[in-house]
Amino acid sequence: MAPPGTAPEKPDRTPDSKEGGLGLDSASQDAGLDCERLLSLFRCMVRIRAFEEHAHKEFLKGEMPGFLHLYSGEEAIAAGVMDTLEDDDYIVTSHRGHGHLLARGSDPKRMFAELFGRVDGYCRGKGGSMHIADMSRGFLGANGIVGAAVNIGTGAAFAAKYRGEKRVSVSFFGDASTNRGTFHEALNLAAIWELPAVYVCENNFYGSANYQSDYMKLKDIADRAASYGFPGVVVDGNDVLAVRAAAVEAVTRARSGGGPTLIECKTWRHWGHFIGDMARYRDPAEHEAWLKRDPIPSFKAKLLAWGVASENELAQIEEAAEAEMDEAVAYGKASPFPPVSELTAGVYKEDRP
């Protein structure tokens, strides 16, 4: 694995600022990643985007029940962080978790089956988008209760430490969720117990319809780490290498007994809070500016500039992702609904011997 790159400068929240812009002057080149690794980061982001676009389409067709919260625009965070983890690490996330599962290696077929409520879904169709989990990859689940996962992620970190293992636990959550008391209690506990926990705040500036300044008098959420006595860092969440560099540092700290870190990744969601929310509350100019900072084209430009791959090779990755997701959707739809007997099965462990 490459040595940790230099942590990038704090980006200003306006996307067109110098530090946060598209310049190739960031941590990118000195991260020392080989081409395969760089392409895998690209592939990861592209697959997430393709998954979300497919989900979006299916939802609009009325084929998916419930709520759908898309991760499009925030792919660099899942891709950058997951790339730094080992197979036995733990992960939790919130309602906006598809990207985290995909980046962790979960199968989009079984994910779509879950989103369609089918029996081949990761949760036999009982969880859906907001409760999707993949225990085979240490993925302890998405969560329908904003702010609940952070305590669970902290507990998984405790389990690792208690058993003397070198495992790390990463919790993903949104900016607005940090106003819940659970954030405060979990991070404080992790600090006291010096747990191998990494807290990744995906700051997309909105908690549903509310702008960050509507619900906190703080510019950088990373600064909240000071209340718990561990480091908090801000990164450009649309720069996958910057995210990765920060994650390497935090994960290394956690794994080596150095305790928790809070990483704030500034980013933007491309769609409304959920599908159906037209996001009329957003400033169109700001939205446009952020769309120009889409993490995928910007990383693509770098890969081309660095000669990591050709246009054609990258296009192939994109096409493959499209095809993969077409197939995953088809698989999901072809999977049967669970039998009605599943309703009362598995409430308790012994119910299903």
């Binding site: 998916m64 029940p65 419930g66 709520f67 409520g117 089918r118 949760c123 036999r124 169709g125 009982k126 969880g127 859906g128 907001m130 409760h131 969560n143 329908g144 209760i145 904003v146 702010g147 607005a176 969720s177 106003n179 819940r180 008391g181 908690g207 549903s208 319809a209 509310n210 509507d214 619900y215 906190m216 509350y281 609904f337 669970p338 009605v340 599943e342 309703l343 009362t344 409430v347």
Partner: protein, 323 residues
């Protein structure tokens, strides 16, 4: 009479009361410029703006907790917890603080607070956005609990809830928001603690509230085909409970089917059954029956969710089994 949706009836009640009394304000997540997760408070925000319809951070303990202080200090907060599934986050604030301060401070203070929250399955929203936890709040002395089934009841009961000097939990069923019904103009109140017979019948009493009233009426129609007269008793308020209405209907029919969407074990149906078994025993011609949600979380998959929700045929079948 004009027709309104359940959602519009609730908004109308809020608007009328807020015009009448400047001490009333609304606070909750997305109640303001977004207009409410289900759109209820949109028209209220339009009329009263952000000084009386306040968006809060995602901080459920602060939503109910601050309201306790505001109510004790003389305001009349109407706060919203988006989904009743999130109420567990603020149960200390509701059940240990709001419910108890009048009593434990010896009557020095009152807590005129309304907590509006959405209950029920049916949206494919799964385990964390579909629960009906009325049994919890009904168990806490000091709280009142209201669960209207129709637009007209929703309006009249909400006005009563707002005027009540105690904390009231006002349960709105998600699947009712779009349902329509005749709603009187102007302000009127329906007293808390008064059930209503939504359909008369002589053979069996179907005791219900909230969305299950519709299912019971549908079950009543099914039963009628078999010549069975079902009396549909809509409790409307769970605490205080209209025991007299329950007992007198059961005295008439001799048979009781208790229906709720919430999980069976420990549900409020147990309380109703107990009241009948204690005080109506002599009038019973058959066992009491409960038709409730199963003891499971609400599953995501639409086929399972549909099975979770109590249906009219199941209610009718239960009623028939008593005859």
């Amino acid at each position: 009479m004009r027709t309104l949706s359940y959602m519009q009836a609730i908004a109308e009640a809020l608007i009328l009361e807020m015009r009448r009394d400047p001490h009333i304000y609304i606070a909750g997540e997305d109640v303001g410029k977004f207009g409410g997760a289900f759109g209820v408070t949109g028209p209220v925000f339009k009329e009263f703006g952000p000084t009386r319809v306040l968006d809060t951070p995602i901080s459920e303990t602060a939503i109910i907790g601050h309201a306790v202080g505001a109510a004790a200090a003389g305001l009349r907060p109407v706060v919203e917890i988006l989904f009743m599934d999130f109420l567990p986050i603020a149960t200390d604030e509701l059940c240990n603080q709001a419910a108890k301060i009048h009593y434990m401070f010896g009557g020095q203070v009152s807590c005129p607070l309304v907590v509006r929250t959405a209950i029920g399955a049916g949206m494919g929203a799964a385990a964390h956005h579909s629960q009906s936890l009325e049994a919890w709040v009904c168990h806490i002395p000091g709280l009142k609990t209201v669960a209207p089934a129709t637009p007209a009841d929703a309006k009249g009961l909400l006005i009563s809830a707002i005027r009540d000097d105690n904390p009231v939990v006002f349960l709105e069923h998600k699947m009712l928001y779009a349902t329509k019904g005749e709603v009187p103009e102007g302000d009127y109140t329906i007293p808390l603690g008064k059930a209503e017979i939504k359909q008369e019948g002589k053979d069996v009493t179907l005791i219900c509230y909230s969305a299950m009233v519709r299912q019971c009426l549908a079950a009543g129609a099914l039963l009628e085909k078999d010549g069975i007269g079902a009396e549909v008793l809509d409790l409307r308020t769970l605490v205080p409970l209209d025991k007299e209405a329950i007992l007198s209907s059961v005295a008439k029919t001799g048979r009781a089917v208790i229906v709720h969407e919430a999980c069976r074990t420990g549900g409020f149906g147990g309380e109703i059954a107990a009241v009948i078994a204690e005080e109506g025993f002599a009038t019973l011609k058959a066992p009491v029956k409960r038709v409730c949600g199963p003891d499971t979380p609400v599953p995501f998959s639409p086929v399972l969710e549909a099975e979770f929700i109590v249906s009219a045929p199941k209610i009718a079948e239960a009623a028939k089994s008593l005859l």
